[in-house]
């Protein structure tokens, strides 16, 4: 069975390592980590993920900009993006039906189950 390719963009190395471990541990996902937001678009072009998990508060380039760049790329514009961030409050996202600026959003700290649920819902 085809594993879903997940691109994880987050400057927090420990977090990306652990999330990659957890997701790959399920046996359902192939995870590529990109800790440098500037390189995220290039990585996506190469990796062609089924879904991108995107942090928002990152040095040099906020997640919002990365998302905009991804959407601006003809190859990538249909790749689903899910924000995974500590910058917003859970309640706020819940009140907005799980959306943040029209993107689905996961609030840190999120459990692996929550992440998996989100991926399954939005990945293509």
């Amino acid at each position: 069975m085809n594993k879903k390719r997940i691109l994880l963009v987050d400057d927090e190395k420990s977090f990306t390592n652990l999330l990659k471990l957890n997701l790959e541990d399920t046996g359902n996902y192939e995870v590529r980590v990109e800790n440098w937001p500037e390189d995220a678009v290039q990585a996506a072009r190469e990796f062609k993920p089924n879904l991108i998990l995107l942090d928002i508060i990152m040095p040099r380039m906020p997640g919002g900009n990365v998302a905009a760049e991804l959407q601006g790329d003809p190859e990538l514009k249909n790749t689903p993006i899910v924000f995974l961030t500590a910058a917003v409050r859970r309640q706020h996202v819940e009140e907005n039906e799980g959306l943040l600026c029209d993107f689905p959003c996961l609030v840190k700290p999120a459990s692996v189950d929550e992440v998996v649920k989100m991926i399954e819902k939005h990945a293509r």
């Binding site: 977090f15 652990l18 009140e95 840190k108 999120a110 692996v112």
Partner: protein, 675 residues
């Protein structure tokens, strides 16, 4: 005779001898020394100049002078000496050949002359003593004459008689004193028959003549006071009294007149009249009311002003008392004041409140002083009073202005206090704001490590399998992460100032919905719930989720305050604000303004209440009395913040008798101002 005597009792006669012939001088000295009954003290000088000098220094009884001197000759010598010492008797010494000169000197004032060589001692002494005596008598006479002349001139009355023949004046005889009054002598009147009427100024003549007519008719006329022109041109006043004089047959033969000089009296009278006019003018023109009473309280005087307020004439007032014009209580008050002045001799001063005839209240300043007679005895009182209503009114106005000033000062002080309180609140708010900013930063930074830990725990959970103790450890780690997460979440709630999704809602419904969320806790803790919801509550514009969060917080606090059960009372009611309110820790000026309609919700528990020392800290972030894990210390600060974002207020206070009441006030929804 000279009064001076020597030790032996002999008269002493001091003689100055002016003689250039030493031999003659010597001879005279010898002659005088022969006289034993009188001691002559002779001083001899040879020149006129020396004589003058000696006369300036010393006094002499007599001067013997030879008129032929080295520095003066003949009659000039006598003239100089006589002019220099006019009171001193002078005896001229002459030679045989110049007796003519000596005689001339005697005619001009010398007492006598002696021919040198022809007098013996006795004759010389006699001549000297006679000269002195004669001079003394002459002086006395002169003085007496002067005295009488003065007396005569001082007489201010004189008489005259007009003799009549067939009813016509034929002769007038004036007594000598007429000269002192008119300046004319009796002879003047005799020689000039019309003088008596000519000296009367034309204006006064008719009165004088008609007086004479009455006398000529044989009756006694009234005295007439008229002016005359003194011979020296001065105008004098006289009083002329005439009495007809009849013979034994009753025929009018003359009339006698007495003229008395009354110029001084007239002048005094005139002065008096002037002075009276002066005081009258003062008394009547002063703006004061002036009155006088005697010691029996009867009016003796009232000025026109006072007459006017009594509405009576002066005649009607004099002799009356206060009881004739004033009500009895007022009259007795006035008399009491008068008695004080009469008995103590002191000035009485007061301000009285009176009612004027037209019913207005007026104020008068009254000063009463004693009146003394010439001997210093008190014979009455003088009262002066004047209207000070205007002044009084101004004083009252001033007083009112002062009070107003005091009031506005108090108001100012109050608003100053309020400002101070507001400033304190602002400082508190500022502090809260800093805490919020800090909290937001901390929360974000904490969340990332928590996310990592969560991933780690998730990973290990899958790997540990069925190792029970490992499962337990991981479970506790998971809970710790959840707790930390809930704290950071609270921090973010507190610090967020995001947009509210406000909609008009019914507060009662909102509370009911919230109660569903805590129903389990209420029943589990055996809490008796009572609800008293006002049906007419105004709708409130709120963010439903936010307000629900507040109520959950408040309910949970109440429930946790009653671990052994109790009662939870809910009450809502509308309220019309009658004063503006401020809430501590808020940057906003006022939550409510006067006139706002407010929906109030009260949540009251029956717990033990909040200790006084904690009451001020309950809205401070992280302040909690709950055990770790039960409270974050953020519930109330966040709730307060939410309510304030809604423009409302959250107030927590102890209820007398135990328990805590949370009061939430939210502004009534006004459609036109709500976005």
């Amino acid at each position: 005779m000279p009064v001076q005597t020597d030790i032996a009792g002999l008269p002493v006669i001091k003689v100055l001898l002016v003689e250039d012939n030493t031999a003659d001088a010597h001879l005279l000295r010898l002659l005088l020394n022969e006289i034993l009954s009188i001691r002559y003290e002779l001083k001899h000088v040879a020149r006129l100049k020396e004589a003058i000098e000696v006369l300036d220094r010393e006094t002499f009884d007599v001067l013997l002078a030879d008129l032929t001197l080295p520095d003066s000759y003949g009659f000039d010598t006598f003239k100089t000496l006589h002019a220099h010492s006019s009171a001193l008797p002078i005896l001229v010494l002459s030679g045989v050949d110049d007796e003519t000169l000596a005689v001339r000197a005697v005619r001009e004032g010398a007492q006598d002359y002696l021919v040198k060589g022809r007098v013996d001692a006795q004759a010389l002494s006699r001549a000297i003593t006679y000269a002195i005596e004669r001079d003394r008598i002459e002086t006395a006479l002169e003085e007496s004459e002067k005295h009488y002349r003065y007396l005569l001139e001082s007489i201010t009355d004189y008489t005259y008689t007009v003799k009549l023949l067939d009813g016509k004046p034929v002769q007038s005889i004036h007594s000598p004193a007429c000269v002192s009054v008119t300046g004319y002598t009796a002879e003047d009147y005799e020689q000039n028959p019309d003088l008596w009427i000519k000296m009367v100024p034309e204006a006064d003549r008719p009165a004088v003549l008609s007086q004479v007519d009455v006398a000529l008719a044989g009756r006694t006329p009234d005295p007439v006071e008229h002016r005359i022109l003194h011979k020296n041109g001065q105008v004098r006043w006289v009083r002329n009294s005439i009495v007809p004089s009849l013979d034994t047959q009753g025929r009018l033969i003359a009339y006698d007149g007495l003229i008395a000089d009354i110029t001084e009296r007239k002048r005094a009278e005139e002065k008096l009249v002037n002075s009276e006019a002066f005081y009258h003018s003062l008394v009547e023109n002063l703006p004061q009311f002036i009155l006088r009473k005697d010691v029996t309280e009867r009016f003796t005087f009232a000025n026109q002003r006072f007459c006017n307020i009594l509405g009576k004439s002066l005649k009607e007032i004099i002799g009356k008392t206060d009881f004739d014009f004033y009500p009895p209580d007022l009259a007795s008050k006035y008399q009491r004041d008068d008695r004080f002045v009469i008995e103590t001799g002191k000035t009485f001063e007061t301000i009285e409140e009176n009612v004027s005839p037209n019913g207005e209240t007026i104020y008068v300043n009254v000063v009463k002083t004693p009146i003394f007679d010439g001997k210093g005895k008190i014979i009455g009182i003088q009262g002066i009073f004047w209207d000070i209503t205007e002044r009084k009114r101004w004083e009252e106005r001033l007083q009112r202005a002062n009070e107003e000033l005091a009031r506005s000062e108090a108001a100012l002080r109050k608003s100053h206090e309020e400002l101070k309180a507001a400033q304190l609140q602002l400082i508190q708010a500022e502090k809260m704001e800093s805490v919020a900013t800090l909290a937001a930063g901390v929360a974000h930074e904490v969340k990332n490590p928590l996310a990592i830990l969560m991933m780690g725990v998730n990973f290990l959970n899958r790997r540990v399998g069925n190792d029970e103790s490992s499962v337990t450890v991981l479970k506790e780690m998971q809970e710790a992460i959840n707790r930390a997460d809930s704290i950071t979440r609270g921090l973010l709630e507190f610090s967020s100032s995001r947009q509210l999704a406000v909609k008009p809602r019914d507060l009662n419904e909102l509370i009911e919905a919230t109660l569903q969320l805590v129903r389990h806790e209420i029943t589990a803790n055996e809490i008796n719930l009572t609800k008293d919801f006002a049906p007419n509550l105004p709708p409130v514009a709120v963010d439903k989720n936010q307000i629900q969060q507040v109520f959950v917080n408040v309910f949970m606090n109440a429930i946790q305050a009653m671990p052994k059960g109790g009662s939870l009372k809910l009450r809502t009611y509308p309220k019309q604000m009658t004063e503006s309110t401020f809430s501590e820790g808020s940057r906003k000026a006022a939550n409510f303004w006067v006139g706002d309609t407010v929906a109030v919700a009260e949540v009251e528990d029956s717990g033990s209440g909040i200790p006084q020392e904690n009451l001020a800290k309950i809205f401070d972030p992280f302040f909690t009395t709950k055990p770790t894990g039960v409270g974050t210390g953020l519930g109330l600060p966040v709730s307060k913040k939410i309510i304030e974002l809604h423009g409302g207020s959250l107030d927590i206070r102890n209820v007398p008798g135990g328990g805590v009441r949370a009061i939430i006030m939210l502004k009534g929804h006004k459609p036109q101002t709500t976005k």
